[in-house]
């Protein structure tokens, strides 16, 4: 059987999610034997022309040039999977969406006129049809392997969509909100990290973005009445998935207070 062609694309990002592929130390050579790595500039000079069977897209759209480039990627891909918080929600750089971007440019660059950028940082799905989204900042490499092997074998990936809170229960972590009185986004954040932060004695800060139908309002109300001030609450929702709709909406309630 002919091997499926894989392409890995980068937009505005830290490279961490695509690095997850190379971080599959035990599985990399097996993976490479199953799939043809046709385009992956971080790892290889080889460029095999499209169309590609699977495109993994990392990063968010922040420039006019990239807004056009993603259309080309879509056209050249049978299946497009966006990976990581930047690609699925705009990433940490979506914090620009809440200010005038010119303020940031002036804070960072002496010659703002050389900088070409959009007012917002947006998810891939805001621009093109996305076939599957894998969450996380960074993604979990085992989830990535599950997604790739599922699509190679024509089945639906088995990625849990429950909360970090449930992951904690499954792992037997004592609840850090109860036992340590820490602010924790576990009840509203999608699982995937293995409830890492509570295991390390700190509250969840939302790397995997909102779970389905999160009750952010109740959580924020509880936390602001009992644990943190409004500014801290605002900042908790405004991290790596700041522009995901439910976190964005909830954060706005704490903007002016």
């Amino acid at each position: 059987m002919k091997k499926k062609k894989l392409a890995v694309w980068k937009f505005a990002s830290c490279d961490g999610c695509q690095l997850s592929i190379l971080d599959c130390e035990d599985e990399l050579l097996t993976l490479a034997a199953q799939i043809e790595i046709a385009y992956f500039p971080e790892a290889t000079k080889t460029v095999i022309e499209g169309p590609y069977d699977i495109s993994l897209v990392e990063g968010s759209i922040t420039t006019a040039h990239d807004a056009i480039r993603i259309l080309e990627v879509r056209k050249n891909s049978k299946l497009l999977i966006s990976i990581g918080a930047c690609a699925t929600s705009g990433g940490i750089q979506a914090l620009r969406n809440y200010v005038k971007v010119s303020e940031y440019i002036n804070a960072v660059y002496a010659r703002p006129e050389y900088i070409d950028t959009l007012e917002t940082s947006t998810a891939i799905a805001d621009h093109v049809k996305v076939d599957y989204e894998l969450r996380g900042c960074p993604i979990n490499k085992y989830q990535l392997l599950e997604v790739l092997s599922s699509f190679l074998h024509g089945k639906k990936p088995s990625i849990p969509d429950h909360s970090v809170c449930l992951e904690c229960k499954l792992n037997g972590n004592p609840c850090v909100a109860v036992s340590r009185n820490l602010p924790c986004l576990g009840p509203v954040t999608q699982a995937g990290c293995g409830a890492l932060c509570p295991h390390y004695h700190r509250g969840c800060f939302g790397c995997y973005g909102p779970k389905e139908n999160p009750n952010t309002e109740a959580l924020a109300l509880y936390l602001t009445q009992n644990v943190v001030d409004n500014h801290t609450m605002l900042r908790l929702f405004r991290n790596f998935n700041a522009a995901s709709p439910s976190f964005s909406k909830e954060s706005k309630n704490y903007e002016k207070q």
Partner: protein, 433 residues
């Protein structure tokens, strides 16, 4: 690439196997470079902008996101800068664990760069996976090494990319010594691999290309530098992070989103493993020094292509150092790592895998960041990379465009430019006149 009677033009349109995007354009006339541009086209992400208004306690988590390849470096520079403002100094075991975490990042980052990104250039493969067809043994060993480094970051940091356990003051959770048992065994084997890999890589062919660089690195008498030291150079520079900004300035180019760093307005510097090695050879362990001598590597090594070998020496050293720290570590009884905010300005520089990483923050009495400045290793090296490429195309002018382009790519990779830090790489574009 195009050639005609008058001009020779070489384009490196998209440099592969570097972490980022960029291009290089050069125009040659009468054996001289008349124009060159090293362009970085990574979209700007404005970290310094959105750090304003955030809490001092958030810097390790936020700045880690600048780079997925060296997040630990960003965490280390940021917490040290904050702690300086707050008048806090981490006690011994915290300091040692931070060094251990850095060892992990150096090992995984260097293993990735040497075997998977740089060695394929020397052997003429497009990538490590293609290389695995003929050198499966080495690729497997490389992955073993990389994993050993990542294991350290995993245990101490929670995960290898964007670790979650570093805080201003220390760590959220301190590991039990028993957690290190397996990785210690792995590291001993990794050190043997690094030893034999250094011997193997020393047999590769290195282009005869030397220059009298100004190498800059952290330096302190007590140890090979990671988190501590003055910033010194082989040309007499010696300063503390506090006065860094009096000497180093950044300049913006119209064609690049990476800022170019100058020393005292006119000097071009070289940071990274080769600089560290040249300045801190005496601080290496005896075993690392003797391995270096065995493969013919002595300070001052002026051939940037040999940074490949220096990275192997550093992996070897970091494996040894990591085991040493783990052996001495006992679970701390009482821990006071709480840091109260205080208004002020703080600066710190640490040694990222790719060289000096400088952070400065100003915070108010509630710990809210007023402004921030971050200078990544790739900014420090940007000018020297461009200079090397200019010299290289003249020295190797007789090569055809394809080979010359390959040589340029290999030369860029000497610096392991982590372009997402500021930036990504590279198109080469050579025009001959």
């Amino acid at each position: 690439m195009k050639n005609n009677e008058k001009t020779r033009e070489i384009k490196l349109d998209y440099l592969a196997r570097v972490e980022g995007e960029g291009s290089f354009y050069v125009k040659i006339k009468d054996h001289e470079v008349i124009e060159s541009k090293l362009k970085i086209f990574e979209p700007p992400r404005f970290f310094e902008g959105f750090l304003q208004g955030r809490s001092y306690s958030e810097v390790p988590d936020i700045t880690a996101r600048i780079c997925g390849i060296c997040p630990v470096a960003y965490q280390m520079s940021s917490v040290h800068a904050m702690e300086k403002i707050c008048g806090y100094k981490a006690v011994g075991f915290i300091d040692k664990l931070r060094r251990l975490l850095y060892c992990g990042e150096w090992i995984e980052s260097h293993a990735l760069h040497t075997f998977m990104l740089h060695v394929p250039d020397f052997l003429g493969y497009p990538d490590a996976i293609a290389m695995a067809k003929d050198h499966k043994d080495w690729v497997e060993k490389a992955l073993y090494l990389k994993k050993a480094g990542n294991d350290i970051v995993n245990i101490l940091g929670g995960r290898e990319i964007h670790p979650i356990n570093v805080k201003v003051g220390g760590f959220y959770r301190y590991p039990y010594p028993a957690e290190f048992k397996e990785v210690k065994e792995r590291l001993q084997k990794a050190q043997e691999i690094a030893h034999s890999a250094a011997q193997w890589m020393a047999t590769l062919e290195f282009p005869g290309f030397e220059f009298d660089y100004e190498f800059i690195a952290l330096h302190n008498e007590g140890e090979y530098p990671m988190n501590h030291g003055h910033i010194v150079s082989n040309k007499g520079l010696s300063l503390e992070a506090e006065t860094y900004e009096d000497h180093f300035s950044e300049e913006q180019q119209p064609y690049s989103t990476t800022l170019h760093t100058w020393l005292d307005g006119e000097r071009t510097v070289f940071t990274g493993p080769l600089a560290r090695f040249n300045i801190n050879f005496e601080q290496l362990s005896e075993t690392a020094k003797s391995l270096a001598r065995e493969i013919g590597l002595y300070p001052v090594c002026k051939n940037p292509f040999k940074s490949l070998l220096v990275r192997m020496i550093e992996i070897f050293y970091a494996c040894e150092e990591a085991v040493r720290i783990m052996d001495q570590y006992v679970f701390p009884g009482e821990i006071d790592d709480h840091v109260k905010p205080k208004a002020g300005v703080g600066r710190a520089a640490t040694e990222a895998p790719r060289g000096i990483l400088f952070h400065r923050y100003e915070i108010n009495e509630r710990g809210i960041i007023q402004n921030a400045r971050i200078v990544a290793p790739t900014s420090h090296n940007q000018r020297i990379i461009e200079d090397d490429l200019r010299r290289l195309v003249i020295q190797f002018e007789d090569l055809n465009d394809e080979l010359l382009t390959e040589r340029c790519e290999q030369a860029v990779r000497n610096y392991d430019p982590c372009i997402s830090c500021s930036t990504h790489f590279l198109k080469v574009n050579i025009e001959r006149e």
